[in-house]
C-alpha cells in the first residue's frame, strides 16, 4: 500500500466542519431536552396514567424501538407531506430525534419509576397530594436519579445516530465530511477526521450529562435534608 | 513435624496491614478454633493458607511444602487443603452430586465412575445420600453447607479450613452442620475453623487461638483459655460472647 495520507485540506475546510459540529450540537440539544420531556410524559402514562393512554404509548414505544432511525427520518421527511405535514430538513431531523429518544427514554424512566417503593406513593397520598403532585414532587426526581447514567448513554447513542440526518441534507458533521470528500477526493481522511470529532463529542456529551446529573441530584438531596 | 507451618506471616491490603506477623504450627489431627472480633483477620489467615490471598511477608508451608504462588504449586496445595465458606458457594448449575464430582474429574483426573462412587460415599457421609440429583436451590442452607463439606472431602484433603460455616444458617439448621464437623474431628481430620459457636469450640477443639488486631493474642487448650484468660482483650471477648 503506497497511499499517501493527506490532511492539508483541513486548512481550507475547517469552517465546514465547525458549522457541522454546531448543527450536530443544536440537534442533540433540542432532541435531548425535548426527547427526555416526551419520555418522562410517556413513562408517567405507562406506569401511572390512564389505561388507554398507556396502550397508545406502548404501541408508540414498540414501533420506534423496533424500526431503524433512518426509516423514521425518511418517513417523517418524505412520507408525512402526503398527510399535509411538510417540514424543513432541520425540523424533520429534530422531530425524528425527539420521537426516537422519547421512546427509548420512556422505557428507561419507567424502570426508574417502577423501582420506587410503594410507600412513597402512599406517603404522598397521605399528605393529601394528588397523584400528579406525588409523581412530580416525590417520585420523579429519585426515579430520574436512579436511571440517569442509562439515560445519559441513550442521549449519546441518539447523538451518534444523528449522523444519518445528512441523508436528508441537514448540514451536520457528517455532511461536512461528505462535502469535503467530494471536493478534495480525500474520502478516508475526511471521514477519519469526522469520526474522531464524533468520538470527542460523545466523550464530552457524556461528561456534561453526568455533571448535570450530579448538580441536579446533589442540590435536590441537600434541599431535602 | 507440624502439618501446617506459619512463620511471621504478614498480609496487607494496600496501606492497611491486616496480619502483622502470625506464627502458628499445627500438627496432624489437631482441631483449631480461631476466635476473635470481626475484622481481627481470621478469614484473611485462612485465605492465606489456601492461597486465595498473596502474602506480603513470612512463609507458609503445608506438609513440608512451601506455599508458592504459581498455578502448579497452588493446585498441589489446594488438593491437600480444602476450604468451606460461610456462603456455601455451591455451583448453582450443577446438582449436589456433580458439585462433588467436578473437581475430582477436572483436577485429579479421576474417571467419571470413580468420581461418582466417591461423591455418593461423601454425600452419604454428610447424611445426604438421597440428594445426589438435587440442585443447590432445592436444598436448605444446612444441606447446602453439608454438600460443600462433601465436595471438599472428596478431594481427600489432609486438612480442612472452615470459615464461619454456620453463620449464614438459620438457627435450627446450625446443629446438623456442626454435627458433621464434630464427626470429622473425631475421625482425626485436621481442622482449622473460624467460629462463633463458643460451646462447640470448647467441646471439640484441641486448641483455641484468639486473634486481635492482626496478631495471635492468646492461645491454649480450650478449658485453660476459657477459665483463665490472660489478657483483658480475651476476657472482654469471652464476656461479650456469653
Amino acid at each position: 500500500m503506497n497511499y499517501q495520507f493527506n490532511f492539508e485540506w483541513i486548512g481550507t475546510y475547517w469552517p465546514v466542519f465547525l458549522a457541522g459540529i454546531w448543527m450536530t450540537t443544536k440537534l442533540i440539544a433540542v432532541g435531548g431536552v425535548v426527547g427526555i420531556a416526551v419520555g418522562t410524559f410517556c413513562a408517567w402514562a405507562r406506569s401511572l396514567g390512564p389505561k388507554w393512554l398507556g396502550i397508545i404509548v406502548a404501541v408508540y414505544v414498540e414501533l420506534i424501538r423496533n424500526t431503524p432511525f433512518l426509516i423514521q427520518l425518511f418517513f417523517i421527511f418524505f412520507g408525512l407531506p402526503a398527510l399535509g405535514l411538510r417540514l424543513t430538513e432541520v425540523q424533520a431531523a429534530m422531530l425524528a430525534m425527539v420521537i426516537n429518544l422519547g421512546a427509548y427514554s420512556a422505557e428507561i424512566i419507567r424502570a426508574g419509576i417502577e423501582a420506587t417503593p410503594k410507600g412513597q406513593f402512599e406517603a404522598g397520598a397521605s399528605l393529601a397530594m394528588s397523584p400528579i403532585q406525588t409523581f412530580r414532587h416525590i417520585v420523579l426526581v429519585p426515579a430520574l436519579q436512579k436511571i440517569w447514567p442509562a439515560l445519559a448513554s441513550q442521549v449519546v447513542i441518539v447523538m451518534l445516530g444523528s449522523a444519518v440526518v445528512s441523508q436528508i441534507a441537514v448540514e451536520d458533521l457528517t455532511f461536512a465530511a461528505n462535502f469535503t470528500q467530494s471536493r478534495t477526493f480525500r474520502a478516508f481522511e475526511a471521514y477519519f477526521v469526522s469520526t474522531a470529532i464524533y468520538l470527542g463529542l460523545a466523550i464530552l456529551l457524556r461528561f456534561i450529562l453526568i455533571q448535570i446529573g450530579h448538580s441536579i441530584f446533589a442540590t435536590k438531596r441537600r434541599a431535602s435534608r | 513435624m507440624p502439618l501446617i507451618d506459619i512463620d511471621a506471616l504478614h498480609k496487607s491490603y494496600g496501606e492497611t496491614e491486616v496480619l502483622k506477623g502470625i506464627d502458628l504450627h499445627i500438627k496432624k489431627g489437631e482441631v483449631i478454633a480461631l476466635i476473635g472480633k470481626s475484622g481481627s483477620g481470621k478469614s484473611t489467615l485462612l485465605r492465606c493458607i489456601n492461597g486465595l490471598e498473596q502474602i506480603n511477608g513470612g512463609a507458609i508451608s503445608v506438609d513440608g511444602q512451601q506455599l508458592i504462588n504459581d498455578e502448579m504449586h497452588l493446585r498441589n496445595l489446594r488438593q491437600k487443603v480444602g476450604m468451606i465458606f460461610q456462603q456455601f458457594n455451591l455451583f448453582p448449575h450443577k446438582t449436589a452430586g456433580e458439585n462433588v464430582m467436578l473437581a475430582q474429574q477436572v483436577v485429579k483426573k479421576t474417571s467419571k465412575s470413580d468420581a461418582e462412587a466417591m461423591a455418593r460415599k461423601m454425600l452419604d457421609r454428610v447424611g445426604l445420600g438421597d440428594k445426589f440429583d438435587n440442585y443447590p436451590d432445592q436444598l436448605s442452607g444446612g444441606q447446602q453447607q453439608r454438600v460443600a463439606i462433601a465436595r471438599a472431602l472428596a478431594m481427600e484433603p489432609i486438612a480442612l479450613l472452615c470459615d464461619e460455616v454456620t453463620s449464614a444458617l438459620d438457627p435450627e439448621l446450625v446443629g446438623e452442620v456442626l454435627e458433621v464437623v464434630r464427626e470429622l474431628a473425631s475421625e482425626g481430620m485436621t481442622l482449622i475453623m473460624v467460629t462463633h459457636e463458643m460451646a462447640f469450640a470448647r467441646d471439640v477443639c484441641s486448641r483455641l487461638v484468639f486473634m486481635h488486631q492482626g496478631r495471635i493474642h492468646e492461645m491454649g487448650a480450650p478449658e485453660e483459655v476459657f477459665t483463665n484468660p490472660q489478657t483483658p482483650e480475651l476476657r472482654s471477648f469471652i464476656g461479650m460472647s456469653h
Binding site: 432511525f69 418524505f78 471521514y191 | 455451583f91 436451590d137 471438599a152
Partner: protein
C-alpha cells in the same frame, strides 16, 4: 413508465428484505465469533490485552456506525482491496457488533459472584478450568436475553448500509419511493417490515429475561 402498483412495491421490498436478513445473520455470527475472541482478551490475565480491547469497544461504541461504514468502505479501498458495498458493510457491522457483544458478555462474567471463583480455586482448579466449568456456563445463561435483545440493534444497524450503496430493504425503499412518488406508503411498508423482523426478537428477549429472573 408504467404504473408500479402496491403489490409490485411489496414484492420488491420483500425480495430486498432477504439481503437485510442475510447481512444481519452474517454480522451477528461474525460479530459473535470476534466478540468471543475479544472477550477472552478482555477478561484474561494480560493487562495490555485488556486495555486494547477496552479502547476498541470505546471507539466503536463512541462513534457513529455510519462513519465506521464509510471508513471500512474507503479504507479497504486504500488497501487495494476491490470493495463491494456488501464486503464493506459486512466488515464494519462485524466489528461494530463485536464491540457491543464483548461488553454485554463481560457484564455477564463479572456478574458471577466472587464466591464461585473462590470455591473453585479452593478445589484446585486453574483459571482455564474455572472459566470452562464454573464461570462461563453460568455467564452463558445470563447472556442469552441481552444477546437476543442486541440482535434487534444489528438488524436495525443494517439499514445504514444503504448509504454506502448496499441494496437491502432500506435502499430498495428509497429507490421505490423515488420511482413511485409514494414515499408514505413505501417507507410505511419498510418500517412494518423492520418491525416484523425486530419485534419477535424484542419479545423473546423480554420473555427470556423474565424466565431467567423467575428461576432465581
Amino acid at each position: 413508465m408504467s404504473q408500479i402498483g402496491f403489490w409490485d412495491i411489496l414484492t420488491n421490498l420483500i425480495f430486498a428484505t432477504g439481503w437485510t436478513v442475510l447481512l444481519s445473520i452474517i454480522s451477528f455470527i461474525g460479530g459473535g465469533i470476534l466478540g468471543l475472541i475479544l472477550l477472552f482478551a478482555r477478561i484474561g490475565k494480560r493487562k495490555w490485552l485488556q486495555h486494547v480491547v477496552k479502547v476498541y469497544t470505546e471507539v466503536f461504541q463512541g462513534t457513529p456506525l455510519l462513519m465506521q461504514l464509510f471508513l471500512a468502505f474507503f479504507g479497504l479501498g486504500l488497501m487495494g482491496i476491490n470493495v463491494s458495498p456488501f464486503l464493506a458493510a459486512s466488515v464494519a457491522l462485524i466489528l461494530w457488533t463485536a464491540a457491543f457483544l464483548v461488553e454485554i458478555w463481560r457484564g455477564c462474567v463479572t456478574a458471577i459472584p466472587k464466591g464461585q471463583w473462590e470455591a473453585s480455586a479452593s478445589l484446585g482448579m486453574t483459571y482455564v478450568e474455572q472459566m470452562r466449568h464454573i464461570i462461563l456456563p453460568q455467564a452463558l445463561k445470563l447472556s442469552v436475553p441481552p444477546t437476543v435483545g442486541f440482535s434487534v440493534q444489528v438488524v436495525k444497524g443494517t439499514a445504514l448500509t444503504s448509504i454506502i450503496g448496499f441494496v437491502e430493504v432500506t435502499k430498495a425503499g428509497t429507490v421505490l419511493a423515488n420511482a413511485t412518488f409514494q414515499p408514505f406508503t413505501v417507507y410505511g411498508l419498510v418500517a412494518l417490515i423492520y418491525f416484523a423482523l425486530c419485534y419477535p426478537l424484542s419479545l423473546s428477549a423480554r420473555k427470556l429475561e423474565r424466565k431467567l429472573n423467575a428461576a432465581h
